[in-house]
Subunit: 363 residues, 2 copies
Amino acid sequence: MQRIEDLPTPSVLVDLDVLESNVRVMQERARAAGLKLRPHAKTHKSPEVGRLQLAAGAAGLTLAKTSEAEVFASLGFEDIFLGYPIFGADKARRLLALSDRILLAVGADSVDGAKSLGDVFHAAGRRLPVRLKIDCGYHRVGVAPEAAVAVATRIAELPGIAFAGVFTHGGQGYAGRTPEEVAEAGHLEGRVVAAAADAIRAAGLPVGEVSLGSTPTARAGMSQRGVTETRPGTYVYNDFSQVQLGSCRLEDCAMTILATVVSSPAADRAVVDAGSKTLSNDPLRPEGPGHGAVLGRRSRLARLSEEHGVIAVEPGEAFAVGERVRILPNHACIVSNLHDSLVAVRNGRVEGRITVAARGCVQ
Amino acid sequence: MQRIEDLPTPSVLVDLDVLESNVRVMQERARAAGLKLRPHAKTHKSPEVGRLQLAAGAAGLTLAKTSEAEVFASLGFEDIFLGYPIFGADKARRLLALSDRILLAVGADSVDGAKSLGDVFHAAGRRLPVRLKIDCGYHRVGVAPEAAVAVATRIAELPGIAFAGVFTHGGQGYAGRTPEEVAEAGHLEGRVVAAAADAIRAAGLPVGEVSLGSTPTARAGMSQRGVTETRPGTYVYNDFSQVQLGSCRLEDCAMTILATVVSSPAADRAVVDAGSKTLSNDPLRPEGPGHGAVLGRRSRLARLSEEHGVIAVEPGEAFAVGERVRILPNHACIVSNLHDSLVAVRNGRVEGRITVAARGCVQ
């Protein structure tokens, strides 16, 4: 069996013990809260990890794009929610083909968007389950809570659409500078989405799932009444941002990058062979310097080029050319998207590969 | 023939007329300056574009990683310089195999790094051409100019190494806030690398290529005496940063992203289906807000999630759900790395695909 020390660098490693523990713990939390867990598979994009989540009890997977659902459906996944406002007849035709094979639901936050899908399903004598996205304060997509009843009612009346519930995402939790601010985003998710569900029901429309979730807000969000489903994603691998946000401990981080110091041109600077093509330029959340932590050191990656990771060497530390280091990335999900496969390790040995089957599926 | 309007979104488009013109113009500049052009192929990672560059007169290609050279060699490219301080016996064995098939040279900025490669070549009775990287003020990799003679001499004495020249990269040009500051980085490239070459020659060591280059500094750098080669990369596609830096005009940008407005939840906000998985989070250079320009509009992409591009809608502009827009990315090279292929277009029609054959080659 291959040793980690013999891997080429840079390599993205996933510790299977940590991964399996993360899957188990989140599933147990959801079970204890009486919620379905429908993990966002954007973090791994991988059939191997998705199967672990389903085996642990997940109700299905969440994804964003039509092409991601096509990849996962082709790999045997049968229950997918695309939590994204998909638009257009071309995507609708692909969703229709998918609906022949799997249990599929999608998100919407506008009548025009839902209608562009419903028209195609209606022409085929079918109905597409659609959940309405509610904006709980992240101000990305989603209808304002006060518009929820009106938009839900109009979407539910569209031919080819089956109104299937509401969902939200408290992404503002990633800006939380204290555990209280992060938790407040989770509480808000729950209050807003449950209130929207209540209002829509009061208007006479049945509401299926009432769904929320992100990894930082997962605990707080789960405790809200009226919620039926949670959709965290990053928890499977965790990352430096999740540590900073208090979502996990350092030892709960399953993904690290094995890199080699290729240059050590000055006492305060060393360069590893992992740059933005390996780690991405995604920032540290909620805020902070650099592009990743060097495990066991105080020094951080201060700047990235595509193939260069420049370590700002802290006083008292040194990095020799040829030395190997492990990097904890700022954002695990986007690292997955940069690689065709990750290296699965356990107890310091290589156990196999994790296929990033849906890498690059943006359409 | 497929129309652009019928493409699924998001799609990365490359205008072939603009691409071909960019290739021609840079080659003509290098020819007029009496320099070899060895374009950095990291921008396209594509055999189709590399062949265009060679057909126009390029001397060979520049790349960074061993796996990139393996891909290009397998596609018939025969002259590659890896302008990167490669380290280690495992990489050296792969470089040795490549050297059987193509003309290969690599960079180094340390004796330890060069020795790790030379040992393997020496054991095989071979010598690897190595160019010394000089730091001209970018402070990433490279030896300080005052150390050039000493390090070059020691590298040249290593078994298995053939000392083959010097090279530099004035990446600080990307921080230039005026055309003068950008040009000064190019002048500095030339002065520093030519002086290092002179000093090494004076110490009795023959110097092969004297190489510099980046797209912003290309013009200024070419005018320096003693230089033999220039290595710009981004000029083939150009991008929003190059426009800001004054390297090109808006009409010289070959790469745009076709995206669909999927959500328009507020008067000051619209969301397109191209996020950081399509555009990356790379910043605008030399500085500036946002993650890309919306062509024909004043509004910019203000923030990105993985699949969401949030447009900050300027007063007087509006974006309707379903509307298609074209986005000029901040950084073309990293966009290429996110996609398996790009769509080649000409006069508004789809002509074929540009294969990003070396996408994801970080090892």
